[in-house]
Subunit: 383 residues, 2 copies
């Protein structure tokens, strides 16, 4: 393989999903580290914390009380970044006027939800079995479905799937939102301010940049390659190559992508062309829950720590053209910062922010290490 040489030389790799490049410097991990040490996460939290605003039965900031929920629980974020109602901002457009050109803004409305993954304060996705993660996948699906534009072809999909009620009356939104971003910030190193297992769902009238960029690239690929999907083709290629695979089941492939930026970045890709959560039947959802369990457990096993990361689902927009919806290929990103140990992370800073992301180990090396640390969660072996 001519690619072997990439283990030794500095090179740039192309990310076809974003249309961007990154710099890979495989020899760089040899440099000594005298910088910031992360505090390894405590795993001695109580099962229930009376001061936690996410634990069942507790009171929240704005006075609401959480129900005594048993798996997941969804509520509107008490400190939402976007809201349903606000004043309008509509500046006059005037292409002759410099302000119109250089000080552009548009108002945006939307709704932000918080979604707990379990009632127990001291669990994480890595501690849960696929069966226990399934209600989370179902809740995501229900929220997505409830916000779909009635004109979307996806609104008509009805699969033989039994969605469980998620403890939220999903009142009809005030506006049709364009995008839904499902994500999780896990661990203090990734800005998470409460260890209770939870994620967030932000919807908005605007199409955010990352989503827009991936859509453009996916549409372009579909157009140029006769109707197939970029990530469908990529998944096939990775299954042939077998160099970056971490895990797979019937429905999903887990790889360290060729263009990974974060040291142990992975992507869960649907093997078949699925556009969104509503395209999966119950068995496929179970496979998705298994893929999430496999990723998060391997992460924790890698450095024997509660591994920090940000993760997020990219799927079809809530409202979009048929072309946009058909080009969307369901996938989930995991961006974890740790590089060498539970306490030494990779910083994407000066060069990365001013010029281009730079990584130290190759994605192939990262995949090999993640492949090798499946099995029982290290914490359970210590008990």
């Amino acid at each position: 393989m001519p690619e072997q040489i990439l283990d030794d030389i500095s090179h740039r790799r192309y990310n076809p999903l974003r249309g961007t490049w990154l710099l890979v410097s495989p020899h760089r991990t040899k440099r000594p580290w005298q910088g910031q040490q992360e505090s390894a996460s405590k795993i001695t939290l109580p099962d229930y914390d009376p001061a936690c605003y996410l634990c069942p039965g507790n009171k929240r900031a704005q006075g609401d009380t959480n129900p005594k929920y048993t798996n997941t629980f969804v509520f509107v974020n008490d400190y939402s970044a976007v809201k349903e109602d606000q004043a309008e901002y509509k500046p006059e457009e005037n292409t002759k006027d410099l302000s119109s050109l250089l000080l552009r803004a548009e108002s945006v409305t939307g709704k932000c939800y918080v979604l707990t993954f379990a009632p127990n304060h001291n669990l994480t996705l890595a501690d849960l079995s696929p069966k226990e993660i399934l209600p989370v996948v179902q809740a995501w699906t229900e929220i997505y479905k409830a916000h779909l534009s009635p004109d979307s072809p996806l609104a008509k999909v009805s699969l033989p799937t039994k969605l469980e009620p998620i403890g939220l009356s999903l009142a009809a939104p005030n506006a049709q939102y364009r995008w839904m971003q499902i994500f999780e910030n896990k661990g203090a190193a990734m800005g998470c301010s409460n260890p209770h297992p939870h994620g967030q769902v932000w919807t908005s009238t605007g199409l955010p940049d990352e989503a827009a960029q991936e859509l453009v690239q996916q549409k372009k690929y579909r157009h140029e390659h006769g109707g197939c999907s970029l990530l469908g083709d990529y998944a096939k290629l990775e299954m042939e190559k077998e160099e970056r695979i971490v895990f797979q089941n019937a429905t999903f492939l887990v790889v360290c992508p060729w263009w990974a930026t974060w040291p142990f970045e992975v992507m869960i890709i649907s093997k078949q062309h699925k556009r969104a959560l509503v395209d999966f039947d119950d068995e496929e959802k179970q496979d998705f829950a298994e893929a999430i369990a496999e990723v998060t457990r391997r992460y924790d096993n890698l450095f024997e720590t509660s591994f920090p990361y940000s993760s997020g689902i990219h799927q079809a927009p809530l409202e979009g053209t048929d072309e946009e919806i058909e080009a969307s290929h369901f996938h989930m990103h995991f961006y974890p910062p740790l590089l060498r140990s539970a306490t030494v992370r990779k910083f994407l800073v000066g060069y990365e922010l001013m010029a281009e992301p730079q990584r130290d180990i190759t994605p192939e090396q990262a995949a090999a290490r993640l492949r090798d640390c499946g099995g029982t969660l290290y914490r359970k072996l210590l008990q």
Copy 2:
């Protein structure tokens, strides 16, 4: 002003320099913070540290000994991310082959320098006077000049400027590099592994993504608006508006840009159209040193701490078309993470990585606060 309303509502702002958007949620700072606390930086370092590989007279990792330098000192990074010599990687191109499309890579060579800002281990740019920063600006200029393509119109510029020798025989590089990124990572929170005041300079055969993106936008603007520069027009507009100005002198404007992502992000912009460091005469360089001193001192005064940031200079490429070189407008970015205090930072994580950057205070609020904290460095008042 219709813009007043942007203090209260969620909105998106457009960054014409990158062609991207960001989400502004001014009401979000009200949310309580229970997450990670940064350790406020120690300011009790010794003036000289025998274990520091940057202090004068000390031995470095690969065995070299630093000279007893008196202001700046430049050397080739012992752990360079890109190198001058390495094996070639030239895969066959085949547009029919999925690998060619989806597993794209190119080898990259280049050179990485480290540049100290002062011989004293315990100083930072904020502690230095403009006069003491000037040698740093001169060293940057000399390095940039030494790497310019002989075909560049910039290689012919000869201003009445006296460059001081920077203690490095800048051996002719093995290849003509396309881009030079001058940057600094300051503080442990921004991945800096040694507090000795220093920055880095990475050159490479490839044009990094951020640089490429800004070039595209600047060329487009110049083309559409008859030869003027995007940032030249922007600087004029900000001087009229007086809403986001932090500081200015005859040559430079310091603003929190309309599209700032980081809480107290600022940009130093040349008021006149200058393409690169070599375009400035001695007086203008002195003004640049003053702008840097004003930014870093205000940062430290804001939360009375040694303020972390990543900064970087964007100017004309080392090698490029005349159009690229003429469209480039000299500026310097500062991306600092702190949001509320010396210990509470903004995390650009889940939503930011998966969807779009989101900020909490408005750039106008940030500018007002930075404007108000000029004057003597807080540490000097405590002595």
